[in-house]
């Protein structure tokens, strides 16, 4: 698997890990400019660690849904181009603002990913939508945000089974999410994100033509 330009396997005191270059954000280990990208803390990191073909080359325009405190989106902004970070909860956004301070290509937005019309006046069409929202209706969020993707863009989503239905078998949840998503997207690759994230499904998908 080729990693995007700007991401590499870097040695931190004898331990090799994914890393990007930028200001540290969450107390991660650093070596010079390089900062460790911990796959246990980041679903996109786990997708790369699993060798999923994300299609990321580096320099992409990105819309990140569910940016939370900025752990993953800070790494994305380190290797990506203009990066729009949408998060709904005010408390983690304080830390997201800290992460964005030193990253001029990271644009934080306190918005609800279920209401794209409230940020489509700011966000331009993007090459990649990264989605990590722990809310019920994750397939619907992805479908609603399809409007942001260019024709050959990619959706990189981490689906959390317990957010959909805590009582159901995760496999059943993933089946129904895959099915709902297939109406709007062509699914290119899916993989469970264990052992980094239990009961999460990583998805790489391309928008279908309308």
């Amino acid at each position: 698997m080729t990693l995007p330009t700007g991401v590499e396997r870097h040695d931190f005191d004898g331990e090799t890990s994914l890393a990007t270059r930028g200001q540290p954000v969450y107390g991660e280990r650093t070596d010079g400019d390089w900062r460790r990208w911990d796959p246990h803390r980041s679903k996109l990191g786990a997708m790369l660690e699993h060798g999923m073909d994300t299609g990321l080359d580096g320099g992409e325009t990105v819309l990140y849904l569910g940016a939370a405190a900025g752990t993953t989106v800070s790494h994305v902004a380190d290797f990506g181009g203009p990066t729009y970070a949408v998060e709904f909860a005010p408390r983690p956004v304080r830390e997201l603002l800290d992460a964005a301070e030193s990253r001029p290509n990271l644009f934080p937005l306190l918005k609800d990913a279920r209401k794209p019309e409230n940020y489509a006046h700011v966000v331009e069409p993007v090459d990649v939508v990264v989605q990590d929202v722990a809310t019920r209706g994750q397939a619907r969020v992805a479908t609603l945000n399809k409007r942001f993707l260019t024709d050959d863009g990619r959706l990189l989503a981490a689906i959390k089974a317990r957010s959909e239905d805590v009582t159901a078998d995760p496999d059943a949840v993933f089946d129904s999410v895959r099915e709902e998503l297939s109406a709007a997207y062509e699914l290119l690759e899916t993989a469970r994100l264990d052992p980094y994230h239990e009961d999460h499904l990583g998805i790489v998908a391309r928008p279908r033509e309308d």
Partner: protein, 282 residues
């Protein structure tokens, strides 16, 4: 005419830009950087992105401050004030009812009776004094209602998960009884279960009373709506989820909708015991 956030803006007007980021809307994204350059809003795309970074930082920071302006201490004051207003309104309403009963032979009671007196015409000074007191009573009850509305608006911003599980008013009461969200987050769930039942708890600790099964969480439909034999279990299950919710709210602020599903499922199982006709303890 562009729907972009920069449309019609003076490039140097920070306040207007922040307002547009927060309140603007568009159905579909467009190539905003290019449009902004064409419209003369920015010299080139690099300048556009610099400006976008400035205004999204400012707008998001302002939006966070606004939503968090309602901090847990504001909530504590509001819920205590609401309780004061309710209690005082009820006490005064009793006085009004007693007085009105003597004067007019009415048999009304409560705040509703006080409200009915406000509409009456005065015949003499005694009527005027009674009506003035009735007015004060009704105003206090109105104030309690508007404090309740304030709590319902702000509790979900301060403690989203706790408010989701407990409802905003009970969430605010729990925060208030603990003295703050942080102290609530640090309490074990057994303490959360009996918050508001301190008198009964101390009587129990002195050895002459049974342990209380629930405090203020009794007002939650999941406790009240469970049959008596199973209320202890329901209260324990509810308190467990509420204390997890308080911890998530204090330490991370994430939303965890699965907590609701988990609680629903636990309570359903506890309430199913009544249908099964069993008395088994957990």
């Amino acid at each position: 005419m562009s729907n972009g956030w920069f449309a019609g803006l003076d490039p140097d007007d920070d306040a207007a830009a922040v307002e547009q980021i927060e309140a603007g809307r568009a159905d579909t994204p467009e190539d905003w950087p290019q449009q902004a350059v064409e419209a003369g809003f920015a010299d080139d795309e690099a300048a556009y992105y610099d400006r976008l970074h400035e205004v999204t930082m400012a707008a998001t920071s302002a939006a966070v401050a606004e939503q968090e302006g309602a901090d847990d201490q504001q909530l504590v004051h509001a819920v205590r004030a609401m309780a004061d207003c309710e209690r005082t309104a009820n006490e005064l309403a009793e006085r009004v009812a007693e007085w009105g009963g003597g004067r007019h032979g009415d048999s009304g009671s409560g705040v509703e009776y006080a409200r009915s007196l406000v509409e009456r015409d005065d015949e003499d000074e005694g009527d005027r004094a009674l009506r003035a007191l009735a007015e004060q009573t009704a105003d206090l009850a109105d104030e309690a209602d508007s404090l309740r509305a304030y709590i319902e608006r702000t509790a979900p911003a301060v403690a989203p998960n706790l408010s989701m599980l407990a409802g905003p008013v009970l969430a605010a009461r729990l925060v208030s009884l603990a003295g703050g969200l942080e102290t609530l987050a640090k309490k074990p769930s057994g303490t959360v279960q009996v918050l508001g039942a301190e008198d009964a708890l101390f009587a129990h600790l002195k050895g002459n009373a049974p342990s209380p099964k629930h405090g203020v969480i009794f007002t939650h439909e999941y406790v009240r709506g469970t049959r008596r034999e199973d209320r202890g279990s329901a209260a324990r299950a509810l308190a467990g989820k509420l204390s997890i919710a308080a911890r998530v709210d204090h330490y991370s602020g994430d939303r965890r909708p699965e907590l609701q599903a988990e609680l629903d499922e636990r309570i359903e199982r506890i309430q199913a015991r009544a249908e099964a006709g069993t008395e088994e303890q957990e």
